[in-house]
């Protein structure tokens, strides 16, 4: 299916490009913009953006595959990203991951059949003082334990994504 860039996107893109002396510097912000619109960056979207910026497709693909935050397949409504680095590891991240695998019936990198949850183990989220930490979409959830995790999942199942503060 052909992919067309929306007018809203093009308007925003012009503003983003204006921040840089070379418009190809806007590549990453514009990929983020596309991901915000669609939830992921499809091959066709990479192609359309390459044409839009006058770049070879290979450059766009190289960038998308280099950075971990770009989803190349649709992610679930809620992307659960559990930090597995050293401070979170010591604070119980492996247990949280195991609990999520069990409760959701999926492994890291998978999405539940209902499309609600994607589970990922990620590297240091930069919130080690409040470990263990999980990011749900853009929102941080800190000082987690089994009870808080269960309550959070229940909230998300009811469509409520709200920060609980640190």
């Amino acid at each position: 299916m052909p992919f067309t860039l929306t007018e809203t996107f093009k308007t925003r893109a012009a503003l983003v490009c204006a921040r840089y002396p070379r418009k190809d510097a806007a590549l990453i912000p514009l990929l983020q913009e596309l991901q915000r619109e669609k939830g992921y960056v499809a091959e066709e979207a990479m192609d359309a953006l390459a044409v839009f910026l006058g770049l070879p497709y290979s450059r766009v693909k190289a960038v998308v595959t280099f950075y971990t935050m770009f989803n190349r397949v649709p992610a679930g409504k809620y992307h659960l990203q559990v930090c597995r680095n050293v401070s979170c590891h010591m604070a119980g991240a492996p247990g949280l991951l195991a609990r999520l695998r069990e409760k959701l019936g999926i492994a890291e990198g998978e999405t539940t059949k209902d499309g609600l949850f994607t589970l990922s183990a990620v590297e240091c989220l930069g919130a080690c003082g409040t470990a263990p930490v999980m990011q749900v979409n853009d929102t941080y959830f800190e000082k987690l334990d089994a009870g808080k995790l269960d309550a959070l999942l229940e909230d998300l199942r009811h469509g409520r994504l709200r920060a609980i503060g640190r």
Binding site: G126, G129, D138
Partner: protein, 421 residues
């Protein structure tokens, strides 16, 4: 001592202004750019991102006769495991960074600045954009700042998930819209940096210290801390202490004071095993070494480690050092940009060997291979990511060798931690 960076009630522009904020900018704009750089040199301020390079000296590397644009870049790609100080600083005192950038921009003659912030810090990036907008509204950012004739635009640029972009030349590549692969130096960014123009890249904490230095003078700042490690530092403490968090303290404070006085000591029943004093890349200290250590650039170097980013990771008895090193190896292998063979292959080998040891399939020779692989990576790559893997490997193996040997013999050294893996 009064905090310079982490203060209360300065989150908003109004609060910051009421506390005397943006007076230093006004003062700076009445000075000559070179005088500002001299004042920063006099302060002894050193890069707070990890390398500890003298800030004023870095600024002075911008060629005096360079024509065309110059750039100032703030490295807010905080990703060194254990580090969470810049996040706290940006949330609590965003205008210290914004004002610091305006002053630094003026000092180096930059017309534009970029804050490169890791993509995961979405809330912090949104906040910075709001606060920059507010500062622009008051004429602190933008064209003809406070009627001085100096113009400085400031943009927030969000990363997309890559630890390597905390390395300054990888950051520039990323900011230009490429894969974050570090550049060969020379040319150094001060000569040929962002978009080929002279560029200074400083950490959030470094830039946020600049307004106070201009306000109170370099000599005042230099009087805090130790003679070679001047000023305050944000220490971020994680692990099983009663009050983990970010503490602003003069450089040279002892680890013992940080732990016992500020962090409320270890949690009940916890015994100290080891400390990583400056973020995951820095060599680990044993409990005894840590308890005797002062936290500044020179003292930690003398103790065989580094101040790094000031990320103090407290490791309790019961944690398996082989397992923790495996966690780190998985991280560095994942984050190696793939450009240099010793790093790309070496991190992979190290992870594989550690997987073997951790799963009870290791042999005694694995320990030597682990050490020699790390030794073969040190200093042999374009950027320090390979060193950042090698240093923990070598220090973990040297200081906790018996645990590696136990694993090689098929036993976990810390069976009480087995269930927690």
């Amino acid at each position: 001592m009064e905090n310079i960076l982490l203060k209360d009630k300065v989150e908003s522009l109004e609060g910051y202004f009421a506390a005397g904020g943006y007076r230093p900018l006004k003062k700076a704009l009445a000075m000559k750019p070179a005088e500002i750089t001299e004042e920063v040199k006099r302060s002894g301020l050193r890069g707070r991102g990890g390398a500890g390079f003298p800030t004023g000296l870095k600024w002075s590397f911008i060629p005096k006769d360079a024509q065309g644009p110059r750039y100032l870049v703030c490295n807010a790609d905080e990703g060194e495991p254990g580090t969470f100080k810049d996040r706290e600083l940006m949330l609590k005192n965003p205008h210290a960074l914004i004002e610091g950038m305006a002053i630094a921009g003026y000092a180096i003659g930059a017309g534009a600045g970029y804050i490169y912030i890791r993509g995961e810090f979405a809330a912090e990036a949104d906040l910075l954009e709001r606060e920059i907008f507010a500062a622009r509204g008051k004429g602190f950012i933008g064209s003809n700042i406070l009627g001085s004739g100096f113009s400085f635009e400031l943009y927030v640029h969000r990363g997309a998930g890559a630890y390597i972009c905390g390395e300054e030349t990888a950051l520039l590549e990323s900011l230009e819209g490429f894969k974050g692969q570090p550049r060969l130096k020379p040319p150094f960014p001060a000569v040929k940096g962002l978009f080929g123009a002279p560029t200074v890249i400083n950490n959030v904490e470094t830039l946020a210290a600049v307004p106070a230095i201009i306000e109170k003078g370099g000599a005042w700042y230099a009087s805090i801390g130790t003679p070679k490690s001047a000023g305050t530092k944000l220490f971020c403490v994680s692990g099983p202490v009663n009050k983990p968090g970010v503490y602003e303290l003069p450089l040279g404070v002892s680890f013992k004071e940080l732990l016992e006085k500020h962090c409320g000591g270890l949690k009940a029943g916890v015994r100290l095993k080891a400390v990583i004093p400056g973020g995951s890349s820095t060599p680990v200290l044993t409990a005894a070494e840590a308890m005797a250590a002062a936290l500044d650039y020179e003292s930690l170097a003398a103790a065989g480690s580094m101040l790094g980013s000031g990320a103090v990771i407290v490791i309790p008895e019961g944690q398996c050092m082989v397992k923790l090193l495996q966690v780190l190896a998985r991280f560095y292998h994942h984050e190696s940009c793939g450009q240099c063979t010793p790093c790309r292959e070496g991190c992979g080998w190290i992870e594989k060997i550690l997987n073997r040891l951790e799963e009870g399939r290791g042999t005694a020779r694995d320990i030597e291979t682990l050490y020699s692989a790390a030794d073969g990576m040190l200093g042999r790559t374009i950027c320090p990511l390979a060193d950042a893997m090698a240093m923990p490997v070598m220090s973990f193996v040297k200081k906790f060798r018996e645990e590696f040997e136990a694993h090689a013999a098929g036993r976990c050294c810390a069976p009480e931690a087995a269930g927690k893996h």
